[in-house]
């Protein structure tokens, strides 16, 4: 589904990602873990070209783009983005639209689908994430957990082959984390391909097929989630996990 080869990313002179190689298979859940500043969010953002890599190649579905040689065209970006949806740390719902309006926006304006049909589907998805009774409220009237579930629903409406999560629970009050993780876990069970940047280690162990541990722009350790997150080879990974346990 996703193949990343030799990916590099520099911001000016600062190297943020260095020779990144990894792949994600269809139906797999891959977690990216590591300290802040290790490059995991940047890597995730490279996967839908919110950040443009400086070098290397990215293949998603049938689309392959090479960076650093020629300019990435608008068409390239468009094609790559068709494969993925993204859930942000700060939700980024559209505040001037009600939940249902948020969710039907892209299918109607981008995919030009029939409004009636989209509304029917939106209702189903809102039901699934437990927000149907809030569908006519504005995001500002909802809790962070509800907003994040709505944001997940919004991404799902585009039927992305891959869902990217950028620390989906980091901005939430502790008591709201669980309701969001539950929705993500549900998606994992349904076989949704996902790449998740997270600090929730128990959650990652439970749902991820694989985990990548990132450190200073490199993938330091990669393997089955259970192994990398419970019994890592590398000292740095152990250190990082121990720090999280302390908290």
């Amino acid at each position: 589904m996703i193949t990343v080869e030799n990916l590099k990313k520099k911001f000016g002179d600062q190297v943020v990602l260095e020779s990144i190689n990894f792949s994600v298979n269809k139906g797999e859940v891959v977690c990216l873990v590591g300290a802040s500043g290790s490059g995991k969010t940047t890597l995730l953002r490279c996967l839908n070209l919110l950040e443009e890599p400086s070098a290397g190649t990215l293949k998603i579905g049938n689309k392959r783009v090479e960076f650093g040689k020629q300019k990435v065209t608008k068409e390239d970006v468009k094609e790559i983005r068709q494969y993925s949806g993204m859930v942000f740390q700060s939700f980024n719902l559209f505040p001037h639209k009600t939940l249902i309006e948020n969710i039907i926006e892209a299918p109607i304006t981008v995919q030009k689908r029939d409004k009636k049909e989209v509304v029917v589907e939106a209702n189903e998805i809102l039901e699934k994430v437990g927000l149907i009774e809030h569908k006519d409220k504005y995001p500002d009237a909802l809790s962070g957990g509800q907003q994040q579930r709505a944001a997940i629903a919004r991404s799902l409406m585009m039927h992305p082959e891959i869902l990217l999560f950028d620390e989906p629970t980091s901005a939430l009050d502790p008591q709201l984390v669980r309701e969001v993780l539950k929705v993500i876990e549900e998606l994992a069970k349904e076989g949704q391909t996902m790449v998740i940047v997270t600090h929730e280690m128990n959650f990652a162990r439970r749902i991820a097929n694989r985990a990548l541990f990132m450190d200073e722009g490199y993938i330091l350790e990669e393997g089955p989630a259970e192994k990398v997150l419970s019994n890592p080879k590398e000292a740095r990974t152990r250190e990082f996990l121990a720090l999280l346990e302390d908290e």
Partner: protein
């Protein structure tokens, strides 16, 4: 001190009879003022939105002319610009059909520069995350601008835009200098005939003020409407 006050001729302060007598004539002038102000607000807003968006463009061929335009209009007095239009252009063979048209052009183009700055700051104040969310939903630049960014920017832009609209209203008084018979000019005519400048100009001022109050009321209603999606408190 007491001498100073005792010399004031309070009985000449305001002649109600004259004010009421001249009201029909002043309201005829107000009609012209409102025509100039109305057209100018609409044109200034349209030009302001275009220039404001051009000012934010990554492309220098849009950005630099917009920057130059804003700089020139903000850096020169409206009256001088109106003189260039009304007295200057005929020298090179361009003449306006009427001085009203010259006034509308002058006021619109001048205040459009201020509105362009409002547009720019309002659009920049919409968080980057909104653009990114729309991008990941595959919305195009213009779809994002139209459906996501401009509606949110509008809420932020309402108060400063209406400040400028009040300036537009007051700015139309400069048209009196190029012989447009608007509110101030009408007042001047009567003041010249009756020698009662105090009554006339106070009356004119009150009429401007009342129109401003109406503009302010429209602003409040729009603010309520655009703030409806924010949680109360």
């Amino acid at each position: 001190m007491f001498d100073f006050f005792s010399e004031i001729k309070w009985e000449y302060l305001y002649d109600f009879d004259l004010a009421i007598e001249s009201l029909p004539f002043l309201l005829e002038g107000l009609r012209v003022t409102l025509i100039i102000a109305g057209f100018s607000m609409v044109f200034a807003l349209i030009i302001g939105i275009i220039v404001g968006i051009a000012r934010m463009s990554k492309l220098a061929i849009f950005r630099l002319p917009a920057k130059f335009y804003i700089s020139f209009m903000r850096g020169t007095p409206l009256l001088v610009f109106v003189f260039i239009l009304y007295y200057g252009l005929p020298v090179i063979g361009i003449e306006f059909e009427s001085s009203i048209v010259a006034a509308i052009v002058g006021v619109s183009f001048n205040f459009a520069a201020y509105l362009a700055e409002v547009v720019r700051s309002a659009i920049s104040s919409v968080p980057k995350g909104q653009w990114e969310a729309a991008e990941t939903l595959q919305m195009s630049y213009f779809q994002t601008l139209r459906r996501i960014v401009i509606p949110q920017a509008t809420r932020i832009a309402v108060p400063p835009t209406f400040n400028i609209f009040m300036d537009v209203l007051k700015g139309t008084s400069l048209a009196s200098v190029i012989t447009v018979q608007e509110l101030l000019y009408s007042g001047r005519l009567i003041a010249g005939r009756t020698y009662d400048s105090m009554t006339m100009y106070i009356t004119v001022a009150i009429i401007y003020w009342l129109v401003s109050i109406v503009i302010g009321a429209i602003q409040s209603r729009l603010e309520i409407r655009y703030n409806r999606y924010l949680a109360k408190g």
